[in-house]
Subunit: 269 residues, 2 copies
């Protein structure tokens, strides 16, 4: 497998993300190719869609002020934004630690309902895209158009196909219980099945596997996040090649595990 | 970044893992190189160290029988092994779901105290290595010897250096709350700092980062686990190249987060 970091620097609000990514690909002297998987940070997708919240405009509720006291070094305005975003996504507030509230939104356990101020324009927080599956699909189609433009110039093929030829994953960094540091989680994909089901397959000794499903999308997310970093790297996307995965026509949220199969169900209600 | 899967097929109990990995590297027509990171599954490390538990020998306690009823399709003998391993590591049993007990061992939340029957010899379970940091260090030194043997043949350099020239990570597959499917966790490393601390660094807008530590080892673990799979792939190790990470003289468990900084502390005591 090859992981190719794509550097863009600071993006403008409302920019055309497909073109930005296309340009970043050209900058490293490669072309988009069939079966490429593009992994992109939710933050730049939201930035391109204008999902940026100026915090000074918000007037904090009592609940936000109480939350700010608990989080210790977050402003009541930021906490107000977190509470609004949690409500907006029909989520829940589950706990707090220094600097972050643990929330469950769209079945995902995430700090601050996905809101973050780092790499956001000054005084602003950035959240998840309004509809990550839709954003993933739109970006996938934009990249496929880009790929076909190159092909048309090269006279290889002139008609886009109905099947996905590249895949897009939208990811966010996340925490794991008891673990120090950030990994990442895949919010949505388009063009790739987020899971590889090995149940019913045999192991090396011919024994049937009963429980084994690989969280391919989450593994890709963490792999890419390692290259992206969370500072001033300016790398909001990573291209994955030679991965051996089959693309699929799946577009959607990376769905959660059913409660009865959740290893953590007894401690997390 | 390049991730190169290393195929070994079925390994013998008590095999010399350094040689096995060395041979697998040659099979793909490459040489070990300075700064290579080898990611290896805890299962083959344990197999090479003979940490394999024949289940038929165990006589299940009442507690094991009760646990077997809760897990539904696990034998009382397997449950006995899980309880013994949990005690052996001064761990705790935290909950159950179908097929698995949630345990905390060495500060890591893991199914069945790290025991697993898939890809284990028939009738046996395999656990974690007795001392993962020690195993990682030993394997690192074996690989460095291998690298120097090649160098001596090529007359490049004759003396091993005191600093690590390759790194080794020992990983296991794991579950995440609310998420479907397996990712992976790094148990121990030798030759690499498991964390990249970005606190105090600036973001793209010059804002100081307050919370950002990247869990590099866990990200590498998940990236590699995607290539290893959990079935009959026979790929227990992955070589990572062109990663841009600096090796370090760290050898140890990948330590847990302090409780007060754990986003999940309120729901997980």
């Amino acid at each position: 497998v090859q992981l190719l970091p794509l550097q863009t620097g600071i993006l403008e609000q409302g920019c055309d993300l497909g073109s930005v990514i296309g340009d970043a690909v050209k900058k490293v002297n490669i072309h988009l190719t069939e079966s490429d998987i593009l992994i992109v940070s939710s933050k730049v997708v939201s930035l391109s869609e204008g999902r940026v919240f100026p915090l000074a405009n918000l007037s904090p509720s009592k609940e936000a002020k109480r939350l700010a006291v608990k989080l210790k070094d977050r402003s009541p305005e930021f906490c107000e934004a977190v509470l609004r975003e949690t409500r907006h996504r029909n989520g829940r507030l589950l706990g707090t630690c220094k600097g972050a509230a643990l929330t469950e939104v769209n079945g995902i356990l995430i700090a601050n309902a996905g809101l973050d101020c780092s790499n956001a324009p000054p005084g602003c927080a950035i959240g998840w895209p309004e509809d990550p599956p839709h954003s993933a699909e739109r970006l996938r189609k934009a990249l496929e158009q880009e790929l076909y433009r190159v092909r048309i110039r090269c006279r290889v093929r002139t008609k886009p196909q109905p099947e996905p030829v590249v895949a897009v994953l939208i990811i966010d960094s996340c925490c794991t219980p008891r673990r120090r540091g950030l990994t990442a989680v895949a919010l949505a994909c388009s063009g790739l099945n987020p899971f590889l089901d090995e149940r019913g397959d045999l192991d090396l000794f011919g024994k049937k596997l009963h429980y084994t499903t690989d969280a391919v999308a989450d593994c890709l997310a963490s792999a890419a996040s390692m290259l992206m970093g969370n500072g001033a790297q300016g790398i909001p996307a990573v291209l994955v090649r030679d991965h051996g995965l089959q693309l699929s026509d799946f577009t959607g949220w990376v769905e959660e595990v059913p409660l009865e199969e959740d290893l953590f169900r007894d401690i997390l209600k």
